[in-house]
Amino acid sequence: MMREHRSLIVWPSLIATGLLAAACTDQPNVNMAPNRPSYWLTPPPAQCVTGKWTGGGRIDPTGNRAASNYDNVDEPAGGQPAAPDPAPYMTGKVTFGFNVFLGQDANGNCIVQKGEIEVNGHAQKRAWHVSIHNGVDAYDGRPVYANEFSDGHPGGVCVVVGIPDRPLPDGYMTARVNPGQGRETAQFEVCDNDRGGRQNTRSDAMRWRVAPLKPGETGPSGDTGLTYLTGGNIVEHGS
């Protein structure tokens, strides 16, 4: 079972988002989704090198793609894999809050310069936390790579924190998981789909993926899928 999870999360993601990382370096503002219309009428996304993202709230993933709160349109944007990756779907109430500042490393890669991400899985009674300072993940001492791209909503833009642009242990990012002060490989994605408009559209979305991929890690595997917020807000707030 564990091997299945690992292959599920590693192979599709490595292939798809490995390409994205290179593209992010060269063209941080470009929509990575192929054959997708360009929406630049409303404010364009911030440059990857200086983008700032903040938000929080709640999602209620069901694992049902037919559910009205499943963001099917945007899930594959940016080359992101179809959920659940890894299986199974993570369902039930999920609350979260975050603040992420993007930047570039010496090689031009898109990285998170500083950030805090808190995710609570209420059905699992698990609390994950990611803390990034000076471009380094506090729980594994490694850089956290990110990608920013447009999605299927007019003016919408997403950020993926912890892209697998290189093999483990450098890919993704490491989250602390409680109870137990464990560690787990994770990836966080949010989309700001009501930029420049009223912030109560319930069109912003969030996705959380976790798996114990690295030696010594604990915690459950799961993927919420990209899910519209039940409450709260996601804001890409400038360079």
Binding site: T54, R58, K93, T95, R195, N200, G232, V235, G238
Partner: protein, 239 residues
């Protein structure tokens, strides 16, 4: 209180309550400001006391920055008054060029108030405030009760909201306000909202005279002698 834990950064954030909620505008050097806080439980009764816990307070935000704070507790118990577990509080806020916002979430699980008088599998308080050129607003979308029961009154199955400021009498005890909402701001340039999912007001009759014939107390006034709050989230913005 059993096994309660809180990050040191959150302790600092708690100490910075005044800074976070009051000094924001000064730090910004403009009219734009954001504030937020969240906590899972508060007990102030003759049976015992427990302060706002775990408390997350939004640090000061200025420029086009953002911030996030979170706090967690594994369990809380004040004998005879309240027991609960999986306590989580998150708040975040941002000041952007186009919009300013704050969002807070507080949750508690396995809730037992006053020896089973009120029970719930979980409550989530979720608020957000946003301000842009079109105005300012707040909402409590995503605030729900899971399997709420009030002895002698009734119960709610599943996860669902309750109408704001639902007042339920608790004979011999006082009353409880469910989904207590306290708005602030003018709705044009400022807005804020506090949600207390369960707010119990303990009351006692003071100053009455005992009728020796009937054994009943005549006159007197009801005075609040204590309170219990479970799931409190606050957000506010000014532009």
């Amino acid at each position: 209180m059993n096994g309660k834990s809180m990050h040191w950064v959150h302790r600092l954030a708690a100490l910075g309550l005044v800074v976070g909620l009051v000094a924001g505008p000064a730090a910004a050097g403009s009219a734009q400001s954001v504030g937020g806080q969240a906590y899972s439980t508060y007990v102030n009764t003759p049976l015992g006391f427990s302060g706002q816990s775990p408390l997350a307070v939004l640090p000061a935000v200025s420029g086009t920055d953002g911030a996030e704070a979170d706090a967690a507790g594994s369990a809380l118990s004040v004998a005879g008054a309240l027991s609960s577990d999986f306590l989580n509080s998150i708040t975040s806020g941002e000041i952007g060029t186009a919009e300013t916002g704050a969002q807070s979430t507080a949750s508690a699980a396995s809730i037992n108030i006053l020896n089973g008088l009120i029970t719930a599998d979980e409550v989530v308080a979720n608020v957000m405030s946003s301000a842009d050129q079109s105005g300012a607003f707040s909402n409590a979308d995503g605030s729900t009760f899971t399997n709420l029961a009030i002895a002698g009154v009734g119960s709610l199955a599943g996860d669902q909201p309750v109408a704001p400021n639902t007042n339920v009498s608790l004979p011999g005890v006082g009353y409880v306000v469910l989904n207590e909402q306290i708005p602030s701001g003018d709705g044009v340039t400022s807005s804020g909202l506090t949600v207390n999912m369960i707010h119990v007001y303990l009351q006692s009759l003071v100053g009455g005279v005992l009728n020796p014939l009937t054994g009943q107390i005549i006159g007197g006034t009801l005075q609040t002698t204590g309170e219990i709050i479970v799931g409190s989230a606050t957000s506010r913005v000014a532009s």
